[in-house]
Symmetry: C2
Subunit: 397 residues, 2 copies
């Protein structure tokens, strides 16, 4: 039988991320492709204790729960955000099934087909997929390593009347960059001037190699809670399998998102929510985050050393100040999509830059993850990758 | 600031279910309003053991997982469905965050604004909310206690060219009724004749008071897996807090739903999925379901006795053969929405029938849940309810 589907399925994409996860699962390939934290660093004992407490704390914990999320968890989130100078009330917070769901539900209440969203270029692949599925028009704003450029941003706001500006300003995916405080203030000023909502996607904010150097989040700068919708997650700091994220912003938006969530899945897994409350009560998560961050920092350094040893005119990258990724520019004439096949044959994987682009892709870019491989594997994998890059370079020159 | 939202938020509804959950949480009200299983019957020890095993079975269980759901869980689902004569492959199955998400994701890949969906009237409230949020047009088909009536169904299919027929044919919510085998076959024949997809929502199928009497599911009748998309859940048989449901159907539809799910929330909580696999391996879930069903059967009988004692011309109900609900018709001149306030004042709650209707609501209907209250509470609550009904009856007569 021939099925009649919705128009939005035309914008679906059997995505790079899915294909990447399949590569990751092949045993003999060293993968720098995914965006995974290292499972060997997971706080398994703390998670086990927390779930045990959640399940034995009374049968109500196993019953249906409120759509907005457990109040005890939202109180914890409010306290944790305070330390980043984000002052919000528990009723402005909604617990989601990972921050991916936050992006989806926000899109559901905000966007009609044809609405314009401004982003950086490149930007988070799976956000682009969500925006595409709502049949929106995503337009890239010119940026440098400090963030979007004011002139182009203001021009595009005036011209295109965007519904939203979506940014990952802190240790971004895929570029690993940090917006300067000046550019953050500039963005907020324009958001206020032209009444545009900003979505600040901050999954990596806690993985910071130099905590002193991290500028205020956009949500902290939006003191009146008027323009910024902020989302983050415990997937990088506790464990991804719990699928717990949250979204916080103007109450009117959060209330509509709660109604959307009720239709979408009633509520987020509440065993995990109860467990997370116990974990935040009993476990020193901040110390744990410092521990894993210092391990990730060492791994970043090892990968950087390998990158620095490649003698190739035109190869550039930005040293990450946090997060999980290197974004590498190879010489202009190289094509990383072609390169991936050769790399996997040689036992190493990465993500070609192409799917992260909104506008015309720069085919010579690639993303490397440094958090999910041990130092040994990073060294071996980078040797393989350097070899593949150098061979390919010789072929095109 | 004035926010610009999507058009679909106009169809959102600060729903009855949400308000009901608030009533449920008021301590001194005996509530027959919710659709909750009894938390005192939850298999807490088995759940605890299962989560313990899931968390300590290797750190991979705490990592990101595949969008389709764990293969081991999908294999279990395939085996369990076989016993209902639903023969499907694991790749035709997708694990969802409860069956609510199955309805939402199915809608996302199927419906454009204005598409027609045929349903019974009344039908499942939260499915209507999902359909409304996709700006579809839901049209009710004339039905009796055996299911939809062929003449009206065929006429509406021919006239309206529906994209889908949505039904809860087994121990339905809210009516607690069971479609006859004859009507099921009739529905399938028309679906085949006119190429219409059928969504069979089956959350209550396992709560059956007379297993011999339960007719084949629609999915079992659709042997070639061409027309029926079937969804069910473990929320009524294990615990709701895990949020584990599934959807199974034609592979082309399921593959698109997987893409939609990736954008929606990447994957379903995988700690819960691993735990469920352990629970299905180690625990006699079928015996547990028989145990809770026999408790629910006794409660249904107690509620039935109380209903039978009301001396009121025009009060009718159907005796449930399974599931969780009585659907009660009061005399025509009574209004159950008005009645609810008086009932809550007297310490008892129910759901007025109105929000379950697609077409013009019958204001004299109400839904009573018998699974979430002990026999004592059912007796006390029903005494209060009978009193409120009789007082209100005197006022309108």
């Amino acid at each position: 039988m021939k099925y009649g589907f919705s128009d939005r399925v035309r914008y679906f994409d059997s995505s790079a991320v899915r294909d990447i996860l399949k590569v990751v699962n092949q045993g003999n390939v060293i993968s720098f492709a995914g965006g995974l934290p290292d499972e060997d660093l997971f706080p398994v004992e703390a998670v086990k204790d927390a779930f045990q407490k959640a399940i034995t704390s009374g049968n109500k914990a196993l019953q249906y729960a409120e759509t907005e999320g457990l109040e005890a968890l939202r109180m914890h989130l409010v306290e944790r955000m305070k330390r980043k100078s984000i002052y919000r009330n528990p009723e402005d917070v909604l617990v989601t099934s990972g921050s991916q769901q936050a992006i989806d539900l926000f899109s559901r209440v905000m966007f009609n087909p044809g609405d314009v969203i401004l982003t950086e270029d490149p930007t988070y692949l799976a956000a682009l997929q969500v925006f595409a599925s709502y049949e929106t028009k995503v337009v890239a704003v010119d940026s440098d390593q400090d963030g979007m450029l004011k002139e182009d941003l203001e021009e595009k706001i005036k011209l295109l009347k965007p519904k939203c500006i979506y940014v990952v300003p802190t240790y971004s995916n895929p570029e690993g960059k940090v917006w300067s405080l000046e550019r953050r203030k500039m963005l907020l000023e324009l958001a206020e001037k032209y009444h545009v909502v900003v979505m600040e996607d901050d999954p990596y904010g806690d993985i910071q190699f130099d905590p002193e150097a991290a500028p205020s989040s956009l949500a902290a700068l939006d003191e009146a809670n008027q323009y910024v919708v902020y989302t983050s997650t415990f997937s990088k700091t506790v464990v991804p399998a719990m699928r717990i994220g949250w979204i916080v912003g103007p109450n009117q938006i959060i209330r509509l998102i709660a109604q959307a969530k009720q239709a979408a899945d009633l509520h987020t897994n509440s065993i995990s929510q109860h467990a997370l409350v116990h974990l935040l009560n009993d476990f020193d998560l901040d110390q744990h985050v410092r521990n894993i961050t210092s391990v990730y920092y060492e791994r970043m350094k090892i990968m950087k050393k390998a990158l620095d040893e490649i003698e190739l005119e035109g190869l550039t990258y930005l040293e990450p100040k946090g997060g999980m990724f290197f974004w590498v520019n190879l010489p202009k004439e190289m094509n990383t999509t072609d390169l991936l096949k050769a790399a996997v044959d040689q036992g190493v994987a990465f993500v070609p830059g192409k799917p992260f682009y909104v506008g015309e892709a720069e085919g010579n870019t690639l993303r490397l993850n440094f958090t999910n491989s041990t130092p040994d594997k990073i060294e071996t994998g980078m040797k393989r990758l350097v070899h593949v890059i150098q061979e390919a370079y010789l072929q095109v020159n």
